[in-house]
């Protein structure tokens, strides 16, 4: 019988320390750990024998997390591990024993199997496509693929993408007859985010789109003149809706923030947000701060939902790099 290990709660008051220990042990970023441990219980490992599962629980308790090892139902176990072949887990020092890649708990995730490598600096997405399945990918983001994968180029995303300098095309890659894999590299240096849409809607900053399931609809949405003008970003957002995986990228690192009430984000740092949030673009402070604080306009989110924030803005990069660019001679 195989067991699964779930984190059920915090064994100590200091949740931040517990999450940090968890992040270190699993070799993931603190943001990712926080994201994983937001909704509890969270299954972190499946297909373990009982002794190994218990060792995981002990290790988690040392990090300040309570956990439970439960037998998996036969139907839920995708590939029951024969008891004759126990996982090669070392006995000593429980924390470093953990395998590195447990970030996406496969048993709970519907959708494509995928891995993200090189995060958070230069995150790279590898998606395993089942036979006869298709994935939509941002133009020119494909970096590697199996030779039998076919590419088709379609108009996608709407006119807004054209106006803001993105490609108006989206490529569709299909694994014909046999499963295949595709590696996807976004343009900007930074991290990758993933959500599985289940009939809900997510808005992405223009240019943050990386890839999605073909059942996810990507369209551009006019923000409204005031929001678009003052946000300093663009007049359009990408509206992603439907069912399936969605990947988006950031410039810089990524923070996922659950909002309940109000939260203020600098306009340039917004990557994505869920539909439950209303937002307005407003002046930050009085007119004095508008001119002197360097903040200018911010976005105030209201409601309940999640917003993804990038830790750098392209505008700041451009301002910083501008002084080193060669000046065109005026003639």
């Amino acid at each position: 019988m195989s067991f699964k290990v779930s984190v059920t709660g915090y064994a100590q008051a200091d949740q931040v320390a517990a999450r940090a220990a968890f992040a270190t042990a699993f070799k993931i970023t603190p943001e990712k750990a926080a994201e994983l441990l937001t909704v509890l219980p969270r299954t972190i490992k499946v297909d373990l024998d009982q002794a190994t599962a218990q060792r995981y629980c002990d290790a988690l308790l040392k990090m300040g997390l309570t956990s439970a090892a439960e037998p998996m139902q036969a139907a839920a176990a995708p590939s029951p591990v024969p008891p004759a072949a126990p996982a090669p887990v070392a006995q000593a020092s429980p924390a470093p024993v953990m395998p590195a890649a447990v970030v996406a708990p496969e048993a709970e995730q519907p959708g494509f199997k995928f891995t993200i490598e090189g995060a958070p600096d230069f995150a790279f997405l590898t998606v395993k496509l089942p036979a006869n399945h298709t994935i939509k990918v941002e133009a020119s983001a494909m970096a590697t693929m199996d030779t039998h994968i076919r590419m088709k180029t379609k108009l996608g995303g709407g006119l807004g993408r054209f106006i803001t300098g993105e490609s108006i095309f989206i490529n569709e890659f299909s694994a014909e007859k046999v499963p295949g894999e595709i590696g996807i590299a976004p343009g900007a240096p930074g991290d990758l985010g993933h959500v599985y849409l289940n009939g809900d809607v997510i808005y992405l900053q223009n240019g943050a789109f990386v890839a999605c399931d073909p059942d996810v609809t990507i369209e551009s949405k006019w923000q409204g003149f005031k929001k678009g003008f003052f946000s300093g970003e663009s007049f359009f957002l990408i509206r992603a809706s439907g069912t399936g995986d969605l990947w988006f990228n950031t410039y810089g690192g990524m923070i996922a923030k659950d909002v309940d009430g109000e939260y203020v984000v600098d306009t340039g740092n917004i990557v994505a947000f869920t539909e439950g949030l209303n937002y307005s673009v407003e002046k930050f402070g009085g007119y004095k701060s508008l001119f002197f604080s360097g903040e200018g306009f911010v976005c105030r989110f209201r409601g309940k939902g999640r917003v993804w924030i990038q830790t750098r803005t392209s505008g700041a990069l451009l301002t910083w790099a501008q002084q080193f660019r060669k000046a065109k001679s005026a003639d």
């Binding site: 490598e117 090189g118 600096d121 230069f122 995150a123 790279f124 133009a139 020119s140 983001a141 494909m142 970096a143 590697t144 693929m145 199996d146 030779t147 994968i149 076919r150 590419m151 088709k152 180029t153 803001t164 300098g165 993105e166 490609s167 095309f169 490529n171 590696g183 590299a185 976004p186 343009g187 900007a188 240096p189 240019g207 410039y251 392209s314 505008g315 990069l317 451009l318």
Partner: protein
């Protein structure tokens, strides 16, 4: 000699400790810090003409620096590459390894570097007409923009232009369109490289063209 690659994927560097008598060859400009009593000697990258070839054809520098520890105690040296990105070390035991232009960073004295004709396929693919051929026994350090990933090839695989960093001699490159004519023209993928054979390829998770494609629409 002790060597360790430190830093994150974005800004890797090589932290070397040279034992007495050790020496290491590095691209000019690669040294970022060193013990004050290491001996430094600049020399042409494999001779004057070979150096010129390497500079203009393989994207390397005309000069290389040789760092030698002539003292009686261990001395330290740190090496960096010009682009943000990852660095890798590779041990060669009397075998050959191919690097794309610009990827070479440093090596131990036992390795010979040469410029090899990579074929017109590589050139049209935007990977350069020439490649750096590394031969011999020793340690090689190389790097590129982006994080570096290994991919074991057995059969065929497609790598987009400008994502290829290095490959083993068992690998052949061939050029093809990414899709049909329409897709290849408008899908932003254009030509891709079909790598075939058996061996390892190293890819970079970001490309310069991806960076410019992201930043250029924002520049006014």
């Amino acid at each position: 000699m002790k060597a360790e690659i430190r830093g994150s994927d974005a800004f890797s560097y090589v932290d070397l400790t040279l034992a007495p008598g050790d020496s290491v060859v590095a691209e000019s400009d690669a040294m970022s810090s060193m013990s004050a009593d290491l001996d430094l000697q600049a020399r042409f990258n494999g001779g004057f003409f070979a150096g010129l070839l390497r500079k203009y054809l393989a994207g390397e520098t005309l000069f290389v620096n040789v760092f030698k520890n002539n003292t009686k105690a261990p001395r330290s040296l740190t090496l960096v590459q010009p682009t943000p990105g990852g660095i890798r070390a590779l041990e060669l035991h009397n075998n050959t390894f191919y690097l794309q232009p610009g990827a070479y960073l440093a090596s131990t004295e036992g390795l010979k570097l040469g410029v090899g004709f990579a074929g017109f396929v590589s050139w049209i693919a935007g990977e350069g007409l020439f490649r750096t051929v590394v031969k011999g026994s020793g340690t090689l350090w190389y790097g590129a923009y982006g994080a570096l990933l290994d991919k074991e090839i057995d059969g065929e695989y497609i790598v987009d232009n400008s994502h290829l960093v290095a490959y083993e001699p068992g690998i052949k490159l061939r050029l093809q369109l990414a899709g049909g004519i329409f897709s290849s023209l408008f899908g932003g993928e254009g030509l891709v490289t079909r790598v075939s054979g058996k061996g390892r390829v190293v890819i970079q998770t970001r490309s310069l063209s991806g960076l410019t494609g992201w930043i250029n629409p924002k520049l006014s």
